[in-house]
């Protein structure tokens, strides 16, 4: 099985820093903004972004986790239903500027479900999308990210896998696998 390293630990940190500076450009001091990590893996990116932003802005940044399982459009079309994860929404979404954060953007269907799930909590003033890896030319829906860590050209048989230290890995790494098996 062929695999290629897209981002290693050092590059990942630089990338997160860059994304944070881009966020600050648009959101200033984040007084009306909040980060919403998409469960299950977007939360790791969101945690990193929050930590970096807090370092840069020297203030607490609002962070939530959003689970999209019950809003997915592939329910009853998969062999097993997907396991749900915790949603944590410690702030009001009404009239806020929300940054949705996920690890990999592929077909756009998870983000569609996330938009749907998020609206259940209220009407945000604006919504943006930040992804660590954008798999270009693979969208099923008209969804594009505002902030991109790295863009990659992939074909459907390839898989992007993000490994985090929080998951017990030695280093943060992002891999591109050449066939469907990622393990």
């Amino acid at each position: 099985m062929q695999k290629k390293l897209i981002l290693d630990q050092d590059l990942l940190e630089i990338t997160i820093s860059r994304l944070c500076y881009q966020l600050i450009e648009n959101h200033n001091d984040f007084s009306n903004s909040a980060i919403l990590g998409l469960q299950p893996r977007g939360k790791y990116v969101a945690d990193r972004v929050k930590a970096k932003l807090e370092l840069l802005l020297n203030k607490e940044i609002r962070l939530g986790y959003l689970d999209t399982t019950f809003h997915r459009d592939d329910f009853r079309r998969r062999k097993f239903p997907k396991a749900a994860n915790e949603t944590m929404m410690p702030f009001l979404i009404e009239d806020r500027d929300i940054v949705l954060v996920d690890d990999v953007l592929y077909t756009g269907r998870s983000v569609r479900a996330a938009l749907d799930a998020m609206i259940s909590y209220g009407r945000p003033r604006s919504v943006e999308l930040l992804v660590l890896v954008d798999r270009k030319y693979s969208r099923d829906l008209p969804i594009q990210p505002n902030y991109i860590g790295k863009s990659v050209n992939t074909i459907h048989t390839q898989r992007v896998k993000v490994e985090w230290r929080e998951q017990g890995r030695k280093n943060d790494n992002i891999w591109l696998f050449d066939n469907l098996e990622t393990q």
Binding site: D67, T69, F70, H71, R72, F75, R76, R78, K79, F80, P81, K82, A83, A84, N85, E86, T87, D116, A117, I119, S120, Y121, G122
Partner: protein, 308 residues
Amino acid sequence: MTQLSVPHLLGTKNLTLDDFHLIFETADNFKEVINRPIKKVPSLRDITIANVFFENSTRTRISFELAEKRLSADTVNFSSTTSSVKKGETLLDTINNILAMKVDMIVMRHASPGAPHFIAKHIDARVINAGDGTHEHPTQALLDTFSIRERYKSFEGLKVAIIGDILHSRVALSNIFALNKLGAEVMVCGPNTLLPKYISSLGVKVELDVFKALQWCDVANVLRIQLERQQIKYFPSLREYSIYYGINKRMLDKLDKEITIMHPGPINRGVELASDVADSEHSIILDQVENGVAIRMAVLYLLAGAKA
């Protein structure tokens, strides 16, 4: 695992420990959903569910209906008192006629034990038992154990007393199966005439003195006297029952510990439970009702999500 080991929910007896944990974890998420400003998710929008009730029900029926609506399912309600069952239609014919209208799931309550099992064998749709006679009431046991889990986190070493009319209670049987599997210790308590003869063979302790049962337990699940199922007299009078088996605040104050009081409803206030207990801080009766919707959403979601 994200799939139940069973295609239908007929009882807690045939659920595995993994099934319980999967249902609880899914219900945790649905509990969060029903506390959102918009309490609806679109998961079951292409599913039609028939609530087929051959017996009276308030809580269970409303709870199932709300759970179905929160999941965006289409629902039809059937009540035997206003249906053609009165004209002599058989159970299977009735169900098959409902299914012919493209219904995907059946939630059924019936006075005869085993009725949902019979139906599940003969039809394609998923069946959920919402109470079959004196046999099982799995979603009630699931919401009871879910409520206990919420308060105590673990079942290991936890002592649960089920007090009242054990003989006629489907809630008792489903709770015993569930609690045994989850690792809690179970005691049943009631007058001798209302305890099934071989109940101890299910691995439960038997106690006749309600105060001793309260002293032993961490959680007391108090059951209603099911007069509608009692063909003969099992005790001289309700007044006498309430004197010997009714639980009041004075009794709880005499205990050297705090216990939790549960009741599946409907409560006969002043019979099995005095108002000062039912409305006290010991009682989690209304939490049980709230959790009922989350548990039923979880069960519906997991059963509907599995491909046939």
